[in-house]
């Protein structure tokens, strides 16, 4: 069916504490060194042939980083600020002076992470109200898979489903209009097989098949 399948790199699922390599390699994320050896610290996918030893996690919670775009839900209002749930352990507050207009509880907003402090508390900026639509969730560590190389996956989803969407790095997608049922199916497929090779081609096949 697909002729241009490139050879995908060898990949392996590893569990916490599993031996990866000897010490003379560069190390990346989700690994630790002990007594001259490198071990994984999470359940994830490991590429033995890569230059840098790191593990791509299969599941996990959202760890905020500066400049991330996130999707939040207004959960509380005080006299000068809104409390917004973005899936971190502590909800950030946003001062009303930084927001144009007014928000209500349960409103969906998009926002940008402006600052993260040493106890991982977040300051948000560029808070904007998203009118209509709804929020779908996925495991936050898979956000890069939903975006794809150079936005390839997002472009694909937008092209075939005609949905308006904003992807938050905190594991939430705001969607409006278009074929949301097809989008849901595609998102489930990405989430369940993001660790397997040729993800983009598989998703495209599935989207094409359902359009016929």
């Amino acid at each position: 069916m697909v002729e241009t399948k490139t050879k995908s790199p060898i990949r392996k699922i590893v569990v916490p504490g599993e031996f990866l390599a000897e010490n003379n390699r560069k190390i990346g994320a989700n690994v630790f060194k002990e007594e001259g050896k490198i071990y994984s610290s999470v359940l994830g996918v490991y590429y033995p042939e890569a230059d840098v030893i790191n593990v791509v996690p299969l599941k996990g919670h959202y760890s905020p980083r500066k400049n991330d775009i996130v999707i939040g839900i207004v959960v509380n209002e005080t006299y000068n600020a809104y409390e917004i749930d973005i899936g971190t352990s502590v909800n950030p507050y946003v001062l009303k002076e930084y927001i144009r207009g007014y928000l209500k509880i349960h409103d969906i907003v998009s926002a940008q992470v402006y600052r993260v402090d040493e106890v991982k508390e977040v300051e948000l900026r560029n808070v904007r109200l998203l009118r209509g639509g709804y929020v779908l969730t996925f495991t936050p560590v898979k956000a890069p898979r939903f975006i794809g190389k150079n936005n390839s996956m997002l472009d694909l989803l937008k092209k075939y489903t005609n949905c308006q969407m904003i992807l938050g790095m905190n594991g939430r997608i705001w969607v409006k209009d278009g074929d949301t049922e097809l989008l849901k199916k595609a998102l489930n497929l990405i989430e369940s097989s993001s660790h397997k090779p040729h993800l983009t081609t598989k998703v495209e096949e599935m989207l094409k098949g359902d359009n016929k």
Binding site: K12, V14, P16, G17, E18, N30, E34, S89
Partner: protein, 235 residues
């Protein structure tokens, strides 16, 4: 000869499944002989009440609970002395592996519910709890594999059943080990053993611990269509 015809270092049949609950962040189901338990992991989430928060690391809460119908006589569902103690020691065992300093002011909750039990339940719970934690994506330095060793009817044995625990000279040693480094993170003893016998009993546990570790790894990898070595099948 043991009552159920097992060899001295033979385990009861064990079945572990990861990711069985959709609403929990991580979960596992374990059947270990007659023991049956469900483990759910929630978090890291905000530690409440606020005075329990620790800005240096996450709190780990371990709740070992028995259903009222899990033992022959009805168990009062209220957590008693035994459950609180087991929760405490198991929690301390897991604190050794969880990288809790990554989650300031947060807490990680581990709930274990037993439906059926027949000796060795704290090791069953710990084994399943570390699978559920890995399934939740919580960073750890190792899994925790646990087994009970001991003595019954004059013989050093592994994985005692209730019948063996009730023997005249029975000694029961629940043991939790980090399989990578062979560190002991839980060791209790009920009964009296000579020092040499204790050393022998601990040596006897080495092989079953590795068996349990491979079962745990297999359960985690199976949830993602991987084979025993972790290679992903391309279908």
């Amino acid at each position: 000869m043991r009552p159920d015809n097992r060899k001295p270092d033979e385990l009861r049949p064990i079945k572990i499944e990861a990711g069985v609950l959709s609403r929990a962040d991580g979960s596992a189901y374990i059947e270990w002989g007659q023991n049956k338990a469900l483990v759910a992991v929630y978090g890291p989430r905000e530690a409440l009440p606020k005075h329990t928060q620790n800005p240096l690391k996450a709190n780990i809460n371990y709740y070992y609970r028995m259903a009222s119908f899990s033992v022959p006589d009805r168990k009062n569902p209220r957590p008693g002395r035994r459950e609180i103690e087991i929760s405490k020691v198991s929690q301390e065992a897991l604190e050794k592996v969880i990288l809790a300093e990554r989650f300031p002011n947060a807490r990680i909750d581990i709930y274990i519910q037993f439906f059926d039990m027949n000796a060795g339940s704290r090791v069953t719970a710990l084994t399943a709890a570390s699978v559920a934690l890995a399934n939740a994506g919580i960073p750890m330095t190792d899994l925790v594999s646990a087994v009970s060793v001991g003595k019954a009817n004059g013989e050093l044995i592994v994985d005692l059943t209730k019948e063996e625990e009730d023997a005249e000279d029975a000694v029961d040693i629940p043991l939790a080990v980090l399989p990578r480094t062979n560190e002991y993170v839980l060791l209790q003893m009920d009964g009296i053993l000579e020092k040499e016998e204790l050393d022998k009993a601990l040596d006897l546990a080495k092989k079953p611990i590795q068996e349990i570790y491979s079962l745990q790894k297999e359960a985690l990898k199976k949830a993602y269509d991987a084979n025993k070595k972790g290679d992903i099948n391309d279908k």
